[in-house]
Symmetry: C2
């Protein structure tokens, strides 16, 4: 009954006969006007190059974890990750990188024991609701380009652990982790990590470079031999790179009409291939569209 | 408020002070009695060997898609997949294998155009409810070892597209696919595929062999050059192998008390590492425990 009602609602929204097919998500994103795209600052782009030539780009989220993100930025500027590696790849879970086995001193400007930025105050966040139930929180939606789980009654909001989400490795409480060891989700969203680890961003390009690495055979997916570690040849902010070499990205404004269309269609796939719309969608299956900044707009 | 109530409920269930830590999911599974484990028939195990020595084992689900599963079994027995390859690996989506680029005739016993087994009748299925909302269906739970989404009002049930789920590649309607081309989910659960494709099983061992393959660079993750195809050296039922070489598995009975414990703890991680239980869990984050049959029990 619920599904039938939602199919009817979708048909009403496009103002057409019920049999009319919807656009695909890709088509909706392609039709978004330039004004619906927001540039990402080069200070909020972490660019990691792997030895095989692969590049992984992480967008940082200072709105959610300001002290941890400031740490990551300070570590990058101090070239803290010289000699770092990807040393853990656990199937359907995370890839993790940093200076494993090393006890480098923290550079100037780093807060060694940050407070528990496991969530932020909901106040001040405008949220586009997901419109579907979330198993892990009272509500879910999108704010400033990020997928968030939130609790209106308790007043908290967090970036959800979705595919590509980047967080800070830590030990046991009260240690939140400093930011020297980072992980990216490479499997089904491990949402039980929400509010248990500090999220600093998400991979917006090159996640396949991490997700296709061989899995580590030790407990938790650590590589057994150091020979298996994947060397990181460079890990810095885009702002540290020569302007002509900086990658530049923009994301689809999650408060835009284009994003609302995209969200609705994600929940109601109904095109030449998909015949039975679900009438609902998981937060992590609505990946916020990100693209390389079109050339000519750079600057 | 909801989360707090559920934390309280979990504490009540273990009959201890609120500060008491729960067991981890791994500990609960290790404590399950032998009677809680169910053997999988060698007729319902598809064993795929890749050229690099990796093995992928698929459990079939004839209870849900009898005609498609019968096709897969008939194809295996006829050695239909001699020369087959993995020819498509799309990041955060699926790996796909079969006789791409070949038009082999269907062996005897194969139904070339099976009916639309996109879901089955809910009648006759005993279901252990998930206990958390599902964004894609009115209800979700577990039946006979499988994660299912279902609609009590409409009377249908399907195996959900979770990490490792195996389905039948198809063209456009009304073709449901015969079973010669199969895919496995290697990323975040693409649940919009539920009721749009026929699910024949799930990978129970070796999914990392597929998920760590290089991604294809063509549209939909197809490999560009045939040289990138990953040869399959053998693809047959366990029942076709010499008895001494057959892998043997069992799964945790999803109607057992052990599974109920496991499910509750999956929704309320609260141990030395996880401090803030979610009070809920996603269907696809409750992977039904499967293990190699302990030696001595084989036979």
């Amino acid at each position: 009954m619920r599904a039938l009602l939602l199919i009817a609602a979708a048909s009403a929204l496009i103002g057409a006969a019920p049999a009319k097919k919807l656009l695909t998500p890709t088509e909706v994103v392609a039709a978004a006007p330039a004004s619906a795209w927001k540039a990402i600052s080069p200070e909020e782009l972490l660019v990691m190059d792997l030895k095989d030539g692969g590049r992984v780009v992480v967008q940082l989220a200072p709105q959610f974890t300001p002290i941890h993100v400031a740490n990551v930025q300070a570590l990058a500027r101090a070239n803290y990750w010289a000699g770092a590696t990807v040393y853990r790849v656990q199937d359907n879970y995370v890839a993790q990188w940093g200076n494993n086995d090393s006890e480098k001193p923290w550079p100037k400007g780093v807060t060694p024991k940050p407070p528990a930025e496991y969530w932020r105050n909901l106040n001040g966040l405008a949220i586009t609701p997901l419109g579907s139930p979330d198993p892990y929180a009272p509500a879910a939606g999108f704010s400033q380009g990020w997928p968030v789980a939130y609790n209106p009654a308790a007043g908290w909001a967090v970036i959800a652990h979705c595919y590509g989400t980047v967080g800070v490795g830590r030990g046991l409480d009260p240690d939140t982790g400093t930011g020297g060891e980072l992980y990216a989700v490479i499997g089904h969203a491990p949402r039980h990590m929400d509010r248990n680890l500090a999220v600093v961003g998400r991979v917006i390009e090159g996640i396949d470079r991490l997700s296709s690495l061989p899995r580590g055979t030790e407990a938790l997916g650590f590589y057994k031999d150091k020979a298996q570690y994947v060397p990181i040849t460079a890990l810095r902010l885009a702002s540290q790179m020569p302007p002509a070499e900086r990658p530049a990205f923009e994301f689809l404004d999650t408060s835009s009409a284009s994003f609302a269309d995209y969200l609705r269609i994600r929940a109601n796939r109904n095109d030449d291939f998909y015949k039975r719309p679900a009438g609902g969608v998981d937060l992590c299956n609505v990946q916020v569209p990100v693209r390389r900044k079109p050339s000519g707009e750079r600057g």
